[in-house]
Symmetry: C2
DNA sequence: GACTCATACATGTAGTTTACACTTATATGC
DNA sequence: GCATATAAGTGTAAACTACATGTATGAGTC
């Protein structure tokens, strides 16, 4: 617990956004894992562990959020082409709702943060001291 | 990986907000662990594991973000009174900056989400198709 | 004064997750 | 043949989490 450096998101944007982003990218067009990883890297998920990434994709498939088929049409090793399922689409929508709520929570944090910052600067300014 | 239900934050607001909230609460006035836990509960962190909570507090102390002293003045078992350190204050500020960036990423997600939703609805409307 | 209850802090640990290293396989260029 | 890039995957020690349990103090009560 409690990390050495603050690492909330950026440069590795909070992993709770990883799944929704994956589903979002697949919503558009079927993509294979390797490329998906690179797209995610471009978005801002700095370093995603390859091993865990593929494991996660298989898990998402197991849970029916995505489905896959082998694509041997192009050169190089066979690609597993992932697509978003109907279940995944619904999941994404639910997730988006939750993220929206999370946005509100973040907003609330910053309101408190500024308020406390004022307090920090002016501890004896007792506006709102209702006791 | 990949959770059974979408559970981003609410009702147990994403644990990545736990540490900043703790520091935020301590910024105001020294508080002891037990009360801190209840304050966090009131904020929206539904169920925090007590064991892990205390372990985390000791960890935060080890990393010099907070410091503690025993308070035996009041009745009942001795309380460990936590205060925010200068290091903790700086950490909180850094964390807040990161959270702000995270907010931007979230915003970006929703922009992409709506855009993709349009695509999903009108796949052959090729505005912005620059290839 | 033994018993129960609430407060306060802490440890033990099974089960899961993560980070990091490693493996397999195909095609291309030299 | 051999290095390199692509593509997907396995193995596993260390870290983290959830849940159960332990220790201790004081207050009320019968």
């Amino acid at each position: 617990m409690a990390q050495e450096k603050p690492q909330v998101g950026v440069g590795g944007a909070g992993k709770e956004l990883l799944v929704p982003y994956i589903l979002l990218l697949l919503r558009n067009v079927p993509v294979h894992g390797y490329e998906l990883m690179h797209q995610l890297g471009a978005i801002g998920f700095g370093t995603i562990d390859q091993g865990n990434f593929y494991r996660m994709m298989r898990q998402l498939e197991k849970e029916s959020y995505v489905c896959s088929e082998w694509d041997t049409s192009s050169s190089g090793p066979a690609k597993r082409l992932y697509s978003l399922t109907e279940v995944g689409e619904q999941y994404l929508q639910t997730y988006a709702d939750q993220l929206q709520k999370y946005q509100d929570i973040l907003k609330q944090f910053f309101e408190m943060y500024s308020k406390m910052f004022d307090f920090y600067l002016f501890p004896f300014n007792n506006e709102g001291d209702e006791k």
